[in-house]
Amino acid sequence: MKKLVMIGNGMAGVRTIEEILKLSPNQFEITIFGQEPYPNYNRIKLSNILQGDTSFEEIIINPLDWYKENKIQLFTGEAVTKVDVEAKKVISDQGREVEYDELIIATGSSSFILPIPGADKIGVTGFRDIKDCEMMIKSAQNYNKAVVIGGGLLGLEAARGLLNLGMKVDVVHLMPNLMERQLDPIASSLLKAELESQGMRFLMEKETVEIIGDEHVAGLRFKDGSLIPADLVVMAIGIKSNTMVAKESGIYVNRGIVVNDLMETSAPNVYAVGECAEHREIVYGLVAPLYEQGKVLAERICGKETAPYEGSVTGTQLKVAGVDLYSAGEIFEVGTTKSIMVYNEYEGIYKRVLVRDNRIVGIVLYGDTKDSTRLFRMLSKKEDITGISIFEAQCSAEGGSGDIASMPNDELVCGCNGVTKGAIVEAINAQGLTTLDQVSHCTNAGRSCGRCKPMVNDILAYTLGDQFDAAAAQKTSICGCTTISREELIAEIKEKGLTSVKEVMNVLEWNNEEGCTKCRPAINYYLGMIHMDEYLDDRDSRLVNEKMHANIQKDGTYSVVPRMYGGVTNVADLKKIAEVAEKYEVPLVKLTGGQRIGLFGVKKEDLPSMWKELDMPSGYAYGKTLRTVKTCVGAQFCRYGTQDSMSLGIELEKKFERLDTPHKVKMGVSACPRNCSEAGIKDIGFVGIDGGWEIYVAGNGGVDLRAGDLLATVKTEAEVMELTGAYLQYYRETANYLERTSKWVERVGLEHVKEVLANAETRKELNERMDQTLKKYIEPWNEAIECENIKDKYYAVHTFKAGE
């Protein structure tokens, strides 16, 4: 396999890798170096983090699992310092050397820091990555006066974020108008007035010459001699390409790393893409052109025929502090241009189109950007506008549907992902989509920066006509088969007395008669939760692992993990496991993370006989249920143990095994606060203390690493069982299907859960419902062994010779 190395782990580079994997999934062994200690995240959304609208998890585009799934070797927090273009290898700052056949440089850009005295003081930062955001958020906790240098897009977004964080913010700008590269003076002054009303202060036409203070910043000095105080200085003047590694390695660099139309640099087999690359003397900083470059580069690297990248004409769609802006082409009126303007000061809307020789050459829209795609198409296609009324759509009362009607099908709606109006309409019609969520899911439109979502919603409204339900379109339905939400589903099941998955889909008019992999398992769960022991489980609505009672592996084989209560085993069981593993030539025998033994690589048709010979219950290592109760040795043997952790663990596992829960549930029991069973990162964790137990909840050791919160401290094992039963049942009744306890507790609030469980009567009722539910479960492996129908339906393979 050829070796592909990428320096940089950002949006443009990783998108290129995605394109390569799509074109040719097994051609390369891929290694990525990222200087930041994170997987690829959506840098466009940094300002949302600063403004407190979103969390870091939500802006991750490619989680670590993605790298794993695609067998990409990822080194985070590690920068490449040199490329040896002769020997074809890269060398990292940790001395690691990796050889390549093809090398992509995608190092992006960093904030331009003014080369003035004091720029290195503590409290001075750029605004480019997570680290900068964290630093600003922290400053806001300790200080209250911030100065942002730069009245461009980044600067204004940073300023808005700092206002949200409770700081006083001054914006210093060298030019007389804000965002002078995108806006004309009228739009600029409207924006300034709006931002001033939000509390921002502006110092225009000020050139910063020095940052003053001791170690920490104390203020700024301007060229005119005036001073202002500051505890935090954010420099958002612009970006500069990160070209150091290319330059040091002898690759030709101008403002950026210079590439040709196939994204090739001056060195053989070395390419550059994204904000670090300079193509035909332009360094692009917007996501759409970078993705276009990525596509061309992917085709080039995979050896496919490719149309060369010839540069992008871009329009800038921006949202600054709640104001929609759009600009493209020329900004300033000169002698040869004429303007068409709409100026509605009252509603804060301003639109201007610059025209030369009957053709649009520039667009500025403020406050209402609905016309942007239509106008931009006219600009880029150089359409003759004689006789065309430029802003006619303004008058349509239906909130933009007039726009949609006149929009041609090949017009780009989502610039980030290259989705046209035609593709969206087709998806809506062909797949019967009714919500924004569904459209995003099916077409990718709106999944990067999200700014096109209002437009996508308009297209949805236009395409569906009378059937469009505005409220329904916005809400999160269970899946694409229906518009109803979890709450509505549960209310309907109870009210109408629905008792089967089929009946639910039928009565509630699922638009996809037999549902999908999202709704059917969810409905099956909710029915079982509501009807308790009266519900007949619909095995075919469960996904593969739960249906087969074994974990499917990527080659279609399965794993077998028998129950070992509390991680305690014995000689007889170990012997049986060894014999079965030997007899069936099991390729892998491994201790699992949950203190038991897993047999991996088992053929489907061998499952029932192996289970029979093992004669042990299923460990449910595959289910949305109680997985394991991990225990430490505890007071029976350990000299530190203050409680009998093994006994409690076994009791818990025996009581709650097989219970259906919204997502998997893991428990841990430790006999003392040293916590060898890691109870602090379990859904429910028990820690023995002198004279009792502490119960921790909502811990998570997986994707959302989270320490558990103390729910209660109790004295006896009986109290432990009672509180655990009530807590679990409350989770079962109120969580969304596939919501882990950690997310659920964060959503409903720990205090709320505590309040509910404080009531003895409520606890009693919850436990009664729990006990009634637990009555229905039978051991599934034994059931499969005993029942020929199940064996034949799920585990048989029928072998024939052709022609017989």
């Binding site: 994997l21 999934p25 097994n26 799934e69 998806a427 797949q431 899911h441 099916c442 077409t443 990718n444 996809n512 008669e513 037999e514 549902g515 999908c516 992999t517 059917r520 075919d540 609505s541 996904l543 593969v544 249906k547 087969m548 499917i552 990527k554 080659d555 279609g556 489907k604 034949d792 339906k793 799920y794 048989a796 393979v797 029928h798 072998t799 024939f800 010779k801 052709a802 022609g803 017989e804």
Partner: protein, 106 residues
């Protein structure tokens, strides 16, 4: 030119479970049979078109589609086409049902 087609009896129609996969191994080919709600039987290659593979018999069946159990791709049983936003196609086999006999013709 004479084209020879081989007809192989692979199952009894009444034995096929509805909305569920049925594994057949014919020579070295692994085939998944699906009887859908309207009674039609489809036969497809028992291999997910996802680049990393996987099987299809254990997938969830909805109408004339099966969802790949490992990567959740939606695949049309009629023609083996993967539904958007994913892409790909798998082999389908001609099926003949006569009385209670289900044949695969290759």
């Amino acid at each position: 030119m004479i084209i020879t087609k081989i007809r192989t009896l692979v199952a009894n129609y009444s034995d096929l479970p509805v909305r569920s996969g049925y594994s057949v191994k014919m020579n070295d080919e692994e085939i998944a049979l699906f009887k859908v709600t309207n009674g039609t039987v489809y036969a497809i290659e028992n291999r997910s078109p996802h680049p990393k593979g996987g099987v299809l018999t254990e997938g969830l069946v909805s109408g004339e589609y099966v969802f790949c159990p490992v990567y959740d791709w939606k695949i049309a049983l009629r023609d083996g086409k993967v539904q958007a936003p994913d892409e790909g196609q798998i082999k389908t086999y001609q099926v003949e049902v006569k009385d209670d006999n289900v044949y695969i013709i290759i």
